[in-house]
């Protein structure tokens, strides 16, 4: 069981990264905040049988990934692209930053998760497989395809 102090430390260490992950994948900050808060509540309600911070971090990323997947199945539509591209902040931002986000949101949710976990979180194939509930071999293939799709989108954007 996590003590309040241990949880507070764990939250401070991981909440920012977790929110960044959820927000980039979902493309919506308020949905991301809901998902992140729900994930931490689940950690508190059903804490994993480990005190290892790395394992706890992996666990909470897994919970967020599952919540994203469940939410995505419910919605079955890509309304998040609109949410991100029409915010007033985006209008003030440089075109490059908007393009970066917009391009990322063109990818499938699974691709976004794979790319984020691999390149931003620096997870290994095995860790990604555990986080997303996939087989390690599948991760290798899916990640290559996600990379290819992102590459195509980026090159499509630059050749326009």
């Amino acid at each position: 069981v996590l003590s309040d102090e241990a949880f507070t430390d764990f939250y401070r260490q991981t909440a920012g990264d977790l929110r960044n992950y959820a927000a980039r994948v979902l493309g919506n900050i308020s949905k991301a905040d809901d998902v992140v808060q729900e994930a931490y509540l689940r950690v508190l309600r059903h804490p994993p049988a480990t005190g290892n911070p790395q394992e706890l971090r992996a666990y909470v990323f897994r919970v967020v990934s599952n919540l994203i997947k469940d939410g995505w199945r419910r919605e079955k539509r890509e309304s998040t692209i609109r949410d991100m591209t029409t915010s007033p902040e985006d209008q003030r931002d440089g075109a490059l930053r908007i393009d970066v986000r917009r391009t990322f949101l063109k990818l499938r949710v699974r691709d976004r998760q794979l790319l984020w976990l691999a390149y931003v979180e620096g997870e290994t194939h095995r860790e990604i497989a555990s986080t997303l509930g996939l087989r390690e071999n599948s991760v290798r293939v899916l990640l290559a395809r996600a990379r290819e799709r992102l590459s195509n989108f980026l090159q499509g954007a630059t050749t326009k």
């Binding site: 949880f7 931490y40 902040e89 990322f104 590459s151 050749t159």
Partner: protein, 119 residues
Amino acid sequence: MKKTSMTDDDIALWMRHLASSPLEGPPLPDAQLVLWRAHAWDCAHRLQRVTRPLEVGGLLVMGVALVSAVLLLAWITGVAPQLWASRLFVFVTLGSVALMSAAAMLHVGAIRTIGLSLR
């Protein structure tokens, strides 16, 4: 322009650029708030486990009372059908049914209100 395949480093650089772009939105809730919500949920969950049997019990009592009242009325009607000619009997019967229903609804409503207020 001819397309050239992006290298792994290009992708990594692009992803780092994405990750470093600031997120707009309110600040993250404090850890204490999350802890408080978890404790509140835990408390509500435990209380719900206590109030649920009471709620079910209340509904059972209501059902048993209703069936008993119907059986009693049927028996009285069989034994002394002339009672239905009495306005007082009809009034008392209808009044009793109304009071019983109100009591049952209040009982269930009160339990639900307690449960909701503790969530």
